[in-house]
Amino acid sequence: MTNGLSPRQRRGLAYSIPVLAVVAALIFGAVMLVLLGANPIEAYVEMFKGAFGSADALIATILKATPLLFVGVGIVIAFRAGVINIGAEGQMVLGGLFATMAALYLPEMPSIIMIPVVLIAGIAGGALWGWIPGALKAYYRVNEILSTIMLNIVAVQLMSYLLRGPLIDPAEIERGTRIPQTERLAPSADLPLIFGSDRLHIGPVLAILSAIAAYYLLWRTPLGYRLRAVGLSEDAAKYAGIPVRRTIALALTLSGALAGLAGAVLVFGSESHRMVTDGSTLGFTGGAGFNGIVAALLGGLHPLWTIPASFLFGGLIVGGQALQRAVQVPSALIIALNGLVVIFVVAADRYRAKLLAVDEWDEQTVEGDDAPGEGDLAALGSVQDHGPDGSGGVDPEEPA
């Protein structure tokens, strides 16, 4: 099906496939909207306006995209090393808890010290929650998908316990309302606002910087080379003298650290400046731990492309909330649609990889119909080295 296309056309098609997947999910959503008695066109117009239609909407979208980007970049790092991190939800929670405790228990300090301290505490919490499944996978061969899911469950209970007990706002006990939330955290830890906005803080800037840093790490440093080598072939990496186990543990630790930072930014960038739970992870993270995976896939598992992908996906979520208000459908619909986006994007991913793989294979005139990128993410990683920005690796357009 791809033989009649030039490499350029194939690549163009390849990069539009994730977008088509989102569109497919939205069409499915339109059917559900009709069944719920809402006008899907009106609903989607509201959705678009709610996400991108005004300065306020754009700020909301950027803020929603921020945790997606942090998590997505972490997912990219893990994937490049051949590890799937389903645990970003729990890592975000731990990051939020560590950062919150730092703000509660440390003495008052000027913002210039306080802010880095709480963010580093968040990074530490997430890193710990990533290191555990990383070490379990590296040294005990424990499947990281399962261990991270279990650690998500543990994190939720830990959050509920701490926010209902030791960390609860004393005012909640006095009033007897006992809402599981902390007091308003130290104002010196509030993230600075930028562009004269009353909501837009430095979080999005940090997220973009982390994406650039991850790009630099993966393609410009020896450590990044080791991470990618392990992802491509553990055996070959071992042969080359790379400490495979340590690298795997490190990949999940880094991935967790970024999710932890996302959690800290959620707490100190929130308008209430507290940590609140409704007893589920989704209540704290807004599902960013899962949706970050989708953002990473939409971005072709490339840190820099994850930036626009997160923005688009953030818009989808903010727009979804606007849609829900405008046409009066339950928020559960948005969770269901979210699931469909995940399914469609992941299902379409193979085809994109295939299109790119054919491309590269033609150039290298290697025999055989076993295209890379079709069997595993590691091979997909190799294909993705030739990002559309021409960065990293050898440009397949150029004869070697």
Binding site: S147, L158, V341, G375
Partner: protein, 310 residues
């Protein structure tokens, strides 16, 4: 403290452990078929939730618990088929696509509940079946022989699953597809047909598991399963991909859950600490995974889509 050790409490805990184990057991047995054939279905929890709603709704409308069970099975069948399309035909990354199915089930079951039911109304539950004579044995009778029919059927499914996987041609094809799909393909086994079949079995059992959960509790609510589907997947690893091991795992989980519930009721666990005790199943799972991973290997082709000629 002494009241934990009374026989009445012990009998209650064992009986409720067995009841609580059943949904996990059914879902995990279904997942075993999929994993033995090389497919990891992470969407079990989502399928269970939709199966639970279907079961609840059917019983609410008809009052017939068996129709409820059937509704759960039908929903599970359809979602199993959909999971097969995603994992086998579209070759999606199984570690992620299942999360999509989970979120879909989580949102959709809640949406349907809000639109079609609204406020929680209790429904009929399964009638207990007293096994003649055995039920009269002191203690033992109360623990094991006055459960509902689904409990007995679920435990009867264990030897059946072992037999299918180990002794039938279909089972041999499942194992071949999971361990060495290239060889099986060369011998004329259709890998995708086998994996479609196992995913449909898995989906159907997950749907039934959800319906059993809802009908046993006599209620539906948002996120009714509370992660039971994920525990069921972990149980497959826990039980080293063998039905008997899975049964032991499910019973252990049922027991831990029942014990925590009982200790909470007796107020031995203070309310403040109940969240910490709720971590127990997940922590036990992680520990169990460490021990199992040292001794047993997962099916070689697990999570690897099959393409002929690779």
């Amino acid at each position: 403290m002494s009241e934990i050790f009374t026989t009445a409490v012990l009998v209650a805990v064992v009986a409720s452990a067995i009841r609580l184990a059943v949904p996990l057991l059914l879902a995990a047995l279904g997942e075993t078929f999929g994993q033995r054939s090389g497919v990891l279905n992470l969407g079990v929890d989502g399928i269970m939730l939709l199966g639970a709603f279907a079961g609840y709704y059917a019983v609410l409308k008809t009052g017939d618990v068996w129709l409820g069970l059937l509704s759960g099975a039908v929903v599970g069948f359809v979602l199993g088929l959909a999971s097969a399309v995603i994992a086998v035909t579209l070759k999606a990354e199984q570690g992620i696509s299942g999360i999509g199915v989970y979120l879909f089930g989580l949102g959709m079951s809640d949406l349907l509940f809000q639109k079609l039911v609204g406020t929680p109304i209790p429904i009929e539950t399964f009638p207990p079946v007293r096994i003649p004579f055995l039920v009269d044995i002191p203690l033992i009778g109360d623990m094991f022989f006055r459960h509902s029919l689904v409990v007995y059927l679920a435990f009867a499914a264990i030897p059946l699953a072992t037999f299918i996987i180990n002794k039938t041609t279909f089972g041999m094809n499942i194992r071949a597809a999971g361990e060495y799909p290239e060889a099986a393909d060369t011998l004329g086994v259709s890998i995708s047909r086998v994996r479609y079949a196992t995913e449909i079995i898995g989906g159907t059992l997950a749907g039934i598991a959800g319906a059993v959960l809802a009908i046993s509790l006599g209620i539906f609510q948002q996120n009714l399963t509370n992660g039971a589907g994920f525990i069921a997947i972990a149980l497959v690893y826990f039980g080293a991909w063998r039905p008997t091991g899975i049964m032991l795992g499910a019973l252990l989980f049922g027991f831990v859950n029942a014990l925590v519930l009982e200790l909470k009721t007796l107020e031995i666990i203070p309310r403040d600490l109940s969240n910490l005790f709720a971590m127990a199943p997940a922590l036990i799972t992680i520990l169990a995974l460490v021990f199992v991973a040292r001794r047993f290997q997962p099916p070689a082709a697990l999570t690897k889509p099959f393409t002929r000629g690779k």
